[in-house]
């Protein structure tokens, strides 16, 4: 059990997390998918409602609609006045939130087990009976504009990323910013909203997950009572746009009144369901997770060309982007930092990673996985993620085994296929000079 103070975890031993047998999954007659994971360490429940709709399902002129929808879902139904959703849920101890991505919109509720029926009734009501009061549409446009200023217009990371993403795709709707272009936020009409709701908020396009203090049979009965009467719709048309292969590097260069320049490299990367998914996660960890990671060490600690290195893989239904982002110190040269980044990536492709680096990444991934499994929120979310992006919720229980199976050569080969200059878009945000010298 207890190891000595000097013991090190050199050997990785995957352990399958417990719980697979406890999970109950059903598909309702209308096509809606329900997954319930009963756990009883706290008297609460986490609910996720995953809608297979994001900015990927938009077109020019209605960008931002999926995200706007997320806001409208809190603004009243034909049965309940605006504000009732939150008022009723909070009065029974529940809290909620939601988020929208390129691929999905997810509604989240956290509540005491006693509020289960109310929460299901509220969720079903807004799926079946959403109202679109014109005055609320106008007020909510203002809220979204405020959110856009916060995340994009006054945030250099968001502003540059929006430009990079728009340049990275010529055809696929992944080029749209999830929050929407400002003119579109002002312009969409009631009919656009109604059509979007009918198409994408149909039960056959939804996955509902519950984790927490519930009796699975009772919970499934309640879900059935509230959601099964909602009629299925024709499945949404698949996203037909295929991004053509990128043949040349694209560059976006912006100048703003900033003190700290930014560099973002967005590489074309596979879809979430790709078989290299575990290798991609581990590769990113080797490169960018923690102070011992390669890029942090090289760029932040040794060369001092960046103050921060970060990255993420946009894991979606379609091939998307893998981002590497640098925040530079004042007056640093972005092109120089980029050259050093390129040399580091070339080294990984040429020489691969060490066994110790691979083990480090695996251990970090395992701790991250256990941390998510430690909460009902993490469980509800993992079930949804695997059900929606991998078509198989049970795959989450194989995650440790998949991590254990990745080899050093797979990491090298993955790096070689992803880190190709002609398949990337580089964004550089440099100082326009107006505030150089800390404004003095």
């Amino acid at each position: 059990m207890k190891r000595t103070a000097l013991a090190r975890s050199a050997v990785y031993c995957p352990a399958e997390p417990a719980g697979r047998e406890q999970v109950h999954a059903r598909r309702l007659a209308n096509g809606m998918q329900i997954i319930v994971w009963p756990v009883h360490h706290i008297p609460n429940v986490a609910l996720n409602l995953w809608v297979r709709a994001g900015s990927r399902n938009e077109r020019p002129g209605i960008t931002g609609l999926a995200h706007f929808f997320e806001h409208m879902m809190f603004n009243g139904t034909r049965a309940r006045a605006p504000g009732e959703f939150d008022r009723l849920m909070e009065a029974q101890g529940g809290a909620n939130n939601a988020f929208t991505s390129d691929d999905v919109t997810v509604y989240e509720d956290w509540f005491p087990a006693s509020a289960l029926e109310l929460v299901l009734a509220l969720e079903a009501d807004r799926v079946a009976n959403l109202a679109f009061a014109p005055e609320l549409i106008e007020s909510e446009r203002g809220v979204v504009a405020s959110e856009r200023r916060l995340r994009v217009e006054d945030n250099n990371h968001g502003l540059l990323a929006e430009q990079v993403q728009a340049a990275a795709f010529t055809t696929h709707p992944y080029r749209f910013p999830t929050i929407g272009w400002p003119d579109d936020i002002r312009a969409w009409r009631l009919e656009d909203l109604q059509r979007f709701h009918r198409t994408y908020y149909a039960p056959n396009n939804l996955t509902l997950t519950l984790a927490g203090d519930v009796d699975p049979d009772e919970a499934l009965d309640l879900v059935r009572r509230y959601f099964e009467p909602i009629a299925a719709q024709a499945p949404p048309l698949p996203v037909a746009e295929r991004e053509p292969p990128q043949l040349a590097e694209r560059r976006v260069r912006m100048r703003r009144k900033v003190q700290t320049p930014l560099v973002q490299c967005a590489y074309k990367a596979p879809a979430a369901a790709d078989e290299r998914a575990s290798a991609i996660h581990l590769l990113m960890s080797v490169l960018m997770e923690g102070d011992a990671s390669r890029l942090h060490r090289a760029l932040v600690e040794e060369r001092r060309l960046a103050i921060e290195v970060g990255g993420h893989w946009q894991e979606g239904f379609d091939p998307g982007l893998l981002w590497v982002s640098l925040t530079l110190p004042q007056d640093a040269d972005p092109d120089h930092a980029l050259a050093v980044l390129d040399a580091q990536l070339a080294r990984v492709i040429a020489q691969g990673v060490t066994q110790a680096e691979l083990e480090r990444a695996r251990n970090l991934a395992m701790v991250g996985f256990w941390k998510r499994l430690a909460t009902i929120d993490g469980k509800a979310h993992l079930l949804g993620e695997y059900a929606v992006f991998h078509d198989r919720w049970a795959a989450l229980f194989d995650a440790p085994a998949r991590l254990a199976a990745v080899s050093r050569e797979e990491l090298r080969a993955t790096a070689a296929t992803i880190f190709v200059a002609s398949r990337r878009t580089v964004g550089i945000l440099a100082s326009s000079g107006a505030t150089a010298g800390a404004g003095r």
């Binding site: 000097l6 975890s9 706290i42 001092r304 251990n363 256990w370």
Partner: protein, 451 residues
């Protein structure tokens, strides 16, 4: 029902306090460390020393240099984060259960034999200065507390920027860091909570071995004076030319951690600015669409604390939004809350309570807090009963005691001064700074000690 789980509490002869709490949902072990003093021990006029010391703890310790230390932590999949808070230096760490021995070894090294190397110090300090610039570029709202607390508390330790300012950091030397370590980090300051998939006996032996020979510091931290009373209404306008929105912060001195009516305080704040349907969010978001969100909250320390309201709005609406927020506060004080509102806040607070005490890491943090402030396990166990007992009279009492008269608040606004200065004229006397100024208040670094 939320109750503090069975745990073991040890006091070592050198004054260190250790708490062990087994909890086995997942094979992880979490650790929460508090070391009394924190930024309160920073030399007057030189905020940021404790913060740099905390960050340096993991930049080389014992037989490991900075890289080897990071390798040891991350190689095992662990995490290790040290930071300064107003009254403590904190360390949070989490490892797989099989590596709890390694975790304690690294923790003991970091606390007892940090290298505090000059080279690492210089790099960290320079990087911290750049981080402040980066935050100013993209997330200036993160700095509202630093500006606001300086305005509110002046030279009292609560007025200090815990992480330092660009100018104070530039003035800190390796000698300051070593002196802080010598004077402020030692056994009797240590409170360590270990929670998770523990082998209780083995863990007890290991923590004793790790810390029983750590010496005490030369002197206990001086007791914190009470913070000053509310200053007269003032506005600090921090100019961010070209900003499309203004971030505002309305603050006043608040109540301390031992405030006896904390359940009523939580319920009233929930109603005022603590959840989506709160009075503030209703005014600024739900009814008007002016902002993505508005909230209020109390930060409570051992000698006092603060009450703040914060939100952000498009530049032309700055004055209107601040007026709405102040009017909401005025209305709360005038009208109080209804029984129905109180019932809803009670259900909400109770319903969410267990979600904050779910994991071993949650329990480690909660027990550390309770121990640090000397509150006892009843602080956690009795909370639901205290919530149940809050009536409108109790709510009225906390509104009168803890929610400030709007005239006794100070304001910080970060935005495009050229476009909002005129909108703020009616709120009181105003002073201006530039966002790019290297400190968070008009008083320069190097002022004499706080009283």
């Amino acid at each position: 029902m939320v109750r503090v789980p069975a745990h073991e509490r040890l006091e070592l002869e050198n004054g260190a306090t250790l708490i062990l709490l087994p909890r086995r949902e997942v094979p992880l072990v979490a650790c929460q460390v508090l070391l009394r003093g924190g930024a309160g021990g920073d030399p007057p006029g030189l905020p940021g020393v404790a913060s740099l010391v905390a960050a340096l703890l993991e930049k080389g310790a014992g037989r490991r240099d900075a890289y080897a230390f990071a390798e040891a932590v991350e190689g095992a999949g662990g995490s290790f984060t040290a930071a300064a808070a107003p009254e403590a230096v904190t360390v949070r760490s989490q490892f797989m259960a099989r590596d709890q021995g390694l975790m304690l070894e690294l923790l003991a090294d970091a606390l007892r034999t940090p290298r505090l190397a000059a080279e690492e110090f210089g790099h960290l300090r320079d990087r911290q200065i750049e981080f402040i610039k980066a935050v100013k570029d993209s997330e200036p709202a993160e700095l509202l507390d630093a500006y606001g607390r300086a305005l509110l508390f002046g030279r009292h330790p609560y007025g200090r920027a815990v992480h330092g300012s660009e100018s104070s950091l530039a003035a800190i030397t390796p000698v300051d860091v070593r002196e802080y370590y010598r004077a402020q980090l030692g056994a009797e300051r240590l409170l360590l909570v270990l929670a998770g998939d523990l082998d209780l006996r083995g863990a007890e032996t290991a923590v004793r071995a790790a810390f029983s020979t750590w010496p005490r510091t030369p002197a206990p931290p001086p007791p914190l004076a009470s913070p000053p009373a509310a200053p007269a209404r003032r506005i600090l306008l921090v100019d961010a030319p070209g900003a499309t929105q203004s971030h505002f912060w309305i603050g006043a001195p608040g109540v301390d951690k031992r405030y006896p009516r904390r359940a009523a305080l939580d319920l009233v704040n929930t109603l005022f600015g603590g959840r989506f349907t709160s009075l503030l969010n209703a005014e600024l978001r739900i009814k008007s669409g002016l902002s993505y969100g508005a909230r209020s909250g109390f930060v409570r320390g051992s000698a006092g604390g603060d009450f703040t309201i914060r939100s952000f709005v498009e530049t032309p609406n700055t004055g209107q939004a601040i007026r709405l927020a102040l009017q909401a506060l005025e209305r709360l004080r005038g009208e109080g809350v209804s029984s129905e509102m109180l019932e809803s806040a009670r259900a909400y607070t109770l319903g969410q309570y267990a979600l904050g005490l779910e994991t071993a890491a949650d329990w480690a943090a909660a027990l550390a807090e309770v121990e640090f402030f000397g509150l006892g396990a009843r602080y956690i166990d009795d909370y639901p009963a205290e919530l149940a007992a809050v009536d409108r009279d109790a709510a009225r009492a906390v509104i009168a005691e803890a929610f400030p008269d709007p005239r006794d608040t100070v304001l910080v606004v970060i935005g495009d001064a050229g476009r909002i200065g005129a909108q703020l004229g009616g709120f009181g006397p105003m002073v201006r700074m530039r966002l790019t100024d290297a400190q968070f208040s008009l008083e320069t670094a190097g002022d004499e000690a706080f009283p």
